[in-house]
Symmetry: C2
């Protein structure tokens, strides 16, 4: 049994005439008659009753017509899904995302754009720190990750830098240095005597490293306060007056009672990067589309430039 024969059968059944069906199929009548006969012989049953004017479906023929339509439809559907998958319009995408990444407008913005452009791709988010991201990428648990670590490509992975943003100081609101957000940039040295709350824990080289490095460059060894695993708890500790923290500028969108932000002097302030990381040679078209879109957005997006001041 052959799809061509199935299509021939459907055409004949729908037209009720072999001649007319042949016309519709762009062929001559005799070979079509032959094919119909061949099907009947193969199935060892009659599909049509030959009448003086045209042909008429038998019961079996009627059943086959229904079924054949379903099969052909199913096949079209199959090819559609396959093509969509090949184009990366359909499938799954597992995205690892650093805890501070969602606060930068770029991330939700590009995610929204992607979901709109590829509505049939089901996107799953998984919050993870940079070290976990690398592991989960290698273990195929996630396909791409937004991370804040300035990773130099580990084996088998590719890192794309999407943007850099300045970091700002988060101070207790009661702190003497906590002024209006519009106040003059702060010199890092002014914080030399403060406890520094390190954000991100020891899970990976990320924001904490950048903060410390900046302090060293500014000429002092910061007093280390508590470590907080997440951004919320970090700001909580700051709010409680347990110390100060350096956080990406985009975190300022998170207004917390008792926490004030201050910009730092451009010359000495650390920067936080946002990197996109993925498996090298990942053949997934979904991943390719995603990465393309994210990188293009990062390049084009005016917002970034404003943010860099």
């Amino acid at each position: 049994m052959d799809l061509r024969q199935l299509r021939y059968f459907v055409a004949v059944a729908e037209e009720g005439h072999i001649t007319r069906a042949a016309e519709r199929l762009g062929m001559q009548q005799p070979p079509l008659s032959q094919q119909i006969k061949a099907i009947e012989q193969e199935l060892d049953l009659q599909l049509f009753r030959r009448k003086a004017r045209g042909v008429e479906l038998t019961d079996a023929g009627r059943v086959l017509l229904d079924q054949a339509r379903a099969v052909l439809e199913r096949l079209d559907h199959a090819l559609l899904l396959t093509r969509r998958t090949a184009r990366g319009e359909q499938g799954r995408l597992s995205v690892g995302i650093a805890p501070t990444a969602p606060f930068h407008p770029f991330v939700p913005q590009v995610m929204r754009a992607f979901r709109q452009a590829y509505p049939l791709v089901s996107v799953i988010f998984d919050e993870c720190l940079s070290r976990q991201a690398v592991e989960q990428l290698c273990g195929e648990q996630i396909d791409v990750a937004f991370v804040r670590a300035p990773i130099t490509d580990p084996q088998g992975l590719v890192v794309h830098t999407l943007l850099e943003e300045p970091m700002v100081a988060a101070l207790p609101a009661s702190h003497e240095l906590a002024g209006d957000p519009r106040s003059e940039p702060l010199a890092l040295r002014a914080l030399a005597e403060e406890s520094f709350i390190l954000f991100g824990g020891s899970a990976g080289p990320g924001i904490a490293d950048a903060s410390l490095a900046a302090c060293y460059r500014a000429g002092f060894s910061p007093r280390l306060g508590q470590r907080a695993p997440r951004i919320a708890s970090t700001l909580g500790l700051v709010s409680a007056g347990l110390g100060v923290a350096l956080v990406p500028a985009s975190i300022q969108r998170l207004q917390v009672d008792g926490v004030a932000y201050r910009r730092l002097l451009p010359r000495e302030r650390p920067t936080a990067v946002l990197n996109l990381i993925l498996r090298q040679n990942d053949p997934s078209a979904v991943v390719r589309n995603f990465v393309d879109m994210v990188r293009r957005a990062a390049r084009d997006d005016r917002w970034i430039k404003e943010q860099l001041e």
Copy 2:
């Protein structure tokens, strides 16, 4: 796109090797490679990644594998249903049935046998008198009918006589002639003065005609009492003492308070036939199977002979 190609694809996908798949398909490797390539070109996408040892499905290939299996399964199913229909193992059967027919054991017996032999045929019953049966057969509302009329084939229909059974008299239990069922057969003349309740109404030449004809043959014109449309009301009237009725012997299975049955003298008693009626040249295999089974059962069934005494 071709079913053959689809099967080739599934084989290669399942084996992970073109060479091995070719073996399984009973062909050589080069043409199989060609066909796979042809599919990929037609769909304009990659289904496999060629590795050093064998081939590996791409995402699109994985999707197509799933879908292709479904399509092939669907096709097998389609052919199965078609074959079943052609064999008359599947479909619908609308059976008209005379009101008195179900009381003869033959009818439920053969219906049970049919449903057992052809469980996928959905049988629909429709009680109807002989005239309606003819109409509904011609109008294709029913496919076959059990009727009690001795119809001579109307145009386009075929009648098969399944069995004949004697008729018996149904008397009010209080009637002087109402004796033990085992009493001697009654002479029809003995009922000459009774009111005859005609069963079946005027809807068709059936039992009522046979009853009257028998009376005429026995030498008297029966006094006509009420007409009753159905067997239950007929026996109700008898029970109420409004007259007597002649009914098929098999009706005796219907024991009604106040109604006694008596056999009639073999020489003069009327007989009730049970006929199977259907459209001539009905192409339905289901009907053919049904008629074959019913007729065979009617011929073979010992029960009938006993009933004929």
